[in-house]
Amino acid sequence: MKNSKAKRKKKQPTKGAVTIKIDGKEITAKEGQNLVQIARENGIFIPSLCYYEHIDPPLGTCRVCICEIDGKPAPACMQKVKENMEVRVNTPEMEDTRKAIVEMMFAEGNHFCPACEKSGDCSLQHMGYEMGVSISRFPHLFKDRIIDFHPKRMIIEHNRCVKCHRCVEEVLTKEGKQVFSLCNRGNETVVGIDYEQEAKLTREEALAAMQLCPTGAILVRGKSMAKPFGDRQFDNQSVQKEEQAKKAVVEAAVKAAKEKKVIATISLAGCFGCHMSMLDIDLGFIDLLEVVEFNKSPINDIKKFTQQCDIGLIEGGCCNSENVETLREFRRKCDILVAVGECSIWGGLPAMRNMIPLEECLEEAYLNSITTVAGEHIVPYHEDLPKILDKVYPCNEIVKIDYFIPGCPPNPEHIWKAVKNLLWGDQYSILYSEFKYD
């Protein structure tokens, strides 16, 4: 691998200095240098995932670095700076486009960060935070992907690969043979690994491969928790410090004297985490009761609707027939329906079963688990029990959902700010710290 880097490092002929403009800021650089690099050196953050400074021409696969170059959208990592180049990084359109591309990666893969070894040390997750991705605008595709345990040293988690090409280009054996290659095409594209070649890699080379992967797709056995939770590079602060701080201006809190509104809440296929989060405004809850009244809700244990409600907060998606019926009842009884938390928005953790046929899931859980005795157990089925659905459905596939509050769970401030906004039109903004959920 070392050898390939050396070979491909292009000697940069010393050229004249040029002046370029990034978001209005004048910057002097050497002609022909890479734009992402120059921006980075000057404290301007251009998101990137596949860019690797020594690969030339750059891979240009992920497209998250898209900026306006001389008025036209183009990937920044592909640009060599030249005199009078004018770059606009943070226009609303470019910000949204980059964010959309990261969201696409989340929609396309199966990323369950809380259960991921790389969480906290993952470039994709980092990009998500930096761009304020709190929910993917795209429907999750739930593509069935495998986890490949065959390689000697590595485990390939296909659910997390973003096909950036880095491993394909960079991980070579001593004889210069590829260990990885993209296989298939279109949405079937996966990165395949050669077991024979992989076995030839040293442990150090395998670890380097794990390092260069921007996601948790390449894991090395016994080395999966390199950076433990809590010790993570982007846990507390954005790399775009000032900008973020400026954006995060908190608007005024609850305005006085309002007509009492009626709220209903429910936890469907969720873990009650979102409800715990609702309670987490602590004493604020008492203030809240001044202006709202709870109808059907686990919070007061009212089981049946007694009146039409202004707003219904739904935690969890639908995994069984009872969920579906309850949700439909909420739709009828609430003027506004809000999906709270990832599970109700797209299925969340319970949707981890969506890639596996129901039959297999139930058999694994009830019949073939290590604690079951063959022939002594059955899959529970009774007419009084709710029926399990073939997959976990997001709420908006069952009824119309008016609003979505993302998070796992959403921060309590976030939930109530949104609710107040919906009920009384209060202005609000959400802090960086309020959309970090891990």
Binding site: T97, K177, Q178, N187, K387, I388, Y393
Partner: protein, 576 residues
Amino acid sequence: MEAEAFSNRRAHPELLDTLWEYQNQHGYIRDEDLEQCSKEFDISSIELEGVISFYHFFHRRPAGKFTIYLNNSIVSEFKGFQRVREAFERETGARFGEVDPSGMFGLFETSCIGLSDQEPAALINFLPFTNLNTLKVRQVIAKIKQGVPIEEVCDEVEDNIRYVPPGKRAVFFREYFPGNAITKLRGLSPEQVIEEINRSKLSGRGGAFFPTGLKWGLCRQQPAGPKYIVCNADEGEPGTFKDRVLMNAMPSLAIEGMAIAGYAVGAREGILYLRAEYSWMKAKLEKDIERFYRMGLLGKNVAGIEGFDFDIRLQLGAGSYVVGEETAMLNSMEGKRGEARVKQYYPIERGFLGLPTVVNNVETLCAAARILELGADHFLKAGTATSPGTKLISVSGDCHQPGVYEIEYGMTVEELLKLCQADAPYYMQVSGPSGECISMADKKRAFSKEDLSCGGAFMVFSKHRDILQILLNFTTFFKEESCGVCTPCRAGNFILQRKLEKMKLGLAQNSDYEDIRQWGHIMQIASRCGLGKTATNTLIKALDTFPEYFEVKQSDGFNRKFDLTKATEAYEKFKS
């Protein structure tokens, strides 16, 4: 080192041919073939798997003694695809995507095979079968089962040349004497050839309209060498078949064009990249190449011009639409996955093997040959001042005269519709799925560079066709054919296909249309190559062009299509 500008891997120009040999030997590439091949080329087996799995005509499992590829393009869909598909399954006993138990027949779908004027059409062992219907499928399969040689069962492909401009202004479809163009090179310097092409204002016919003379001139100026001429005969854009007709009717015209380009640019070798769907023309083309060698019009001192040596070979593709994109084609020729390259260099700077390469479409090269033969003035006589010459348009769909029309630039949509006898035109797709859709409000628009630019396909659909079905077919096509390298195209087409499927279930909300616009726009600006950049053109344009079709009823808050009984069906198995 320079030659490796696009990858750290070595190029293997013979790889595709070798893979075809293995594939043809056993009908698929066996594990032992893969192993052998990986030794032969000294590359890892995963790299090989990567290449093989990119091209949909390569198989890693048995694909039947008779491998049947049924075209699933939109024209085929409207002309009875579903019934023909069922007939094939019934008659062969195989299911699509599989091989029948005896291993005799393998059934597969494939995207447009360039026979849109005679759909539904299929390839069986790469021989053409056109105008299929249930009865014909039964007869064909019966004959194959009886052991009639497949060459005797297959169809003769009609050229269907329907129109040429009056007054001898035709450029392509006129009397042709092989060699007349090449021999014109005698006495002309390369610069004079380029000048003549420049004067004709010929621009690329592969869809991008880049001025051909300019391309040649720029390549000529490149100091590196040797240089290459590539004839792009991949014609993958659904609904396009004009290159097929050109090559079938006058196979050597493109060869002459290549030699002329070679002379102008200073190249010694030309490669004709033929899509595998046109394998049935391969022998014919090779025979003509040989004939040209015998006539002294290829090889050493071409046409007696001292010092001008030019060789042409044919490279067969293996099933991929994006390979038609020139940089993807270069990768494919190097034995790699046909992924488009990043736009760091133009092919004329670093192309095949990293060396200066001109890639031109078949029609472009044929036009160049004609311009040299007849003179730029002849070419300038036809068409309009800014778009001179004629253009080949492949017309298909709901009209009585599908086929190829050599029109003069400046002809209007209305005129063409009349010529092809379209009774009730409503929705027209210009330049294939990556182009644009127009309605009868555009009937006065004229085919030309500045108004209605057309890569060569013109599909006509009448009012009773479902627009959503058209759009879903196109998006599925792009989803299948995306090379998978960049996020917006790989994921975006998949996401939009799901969205259209949802809309097909009657679940469209107004917000879905807004999503299509916004997401489509993101794909347009962020994708890496032309495929992703153009994949949503039609989708977005259709919303504006056919608003009456897209009006939706507001939903009442309940998803009526969610079927609780169906969703609990899997669970009901556990009822004891």
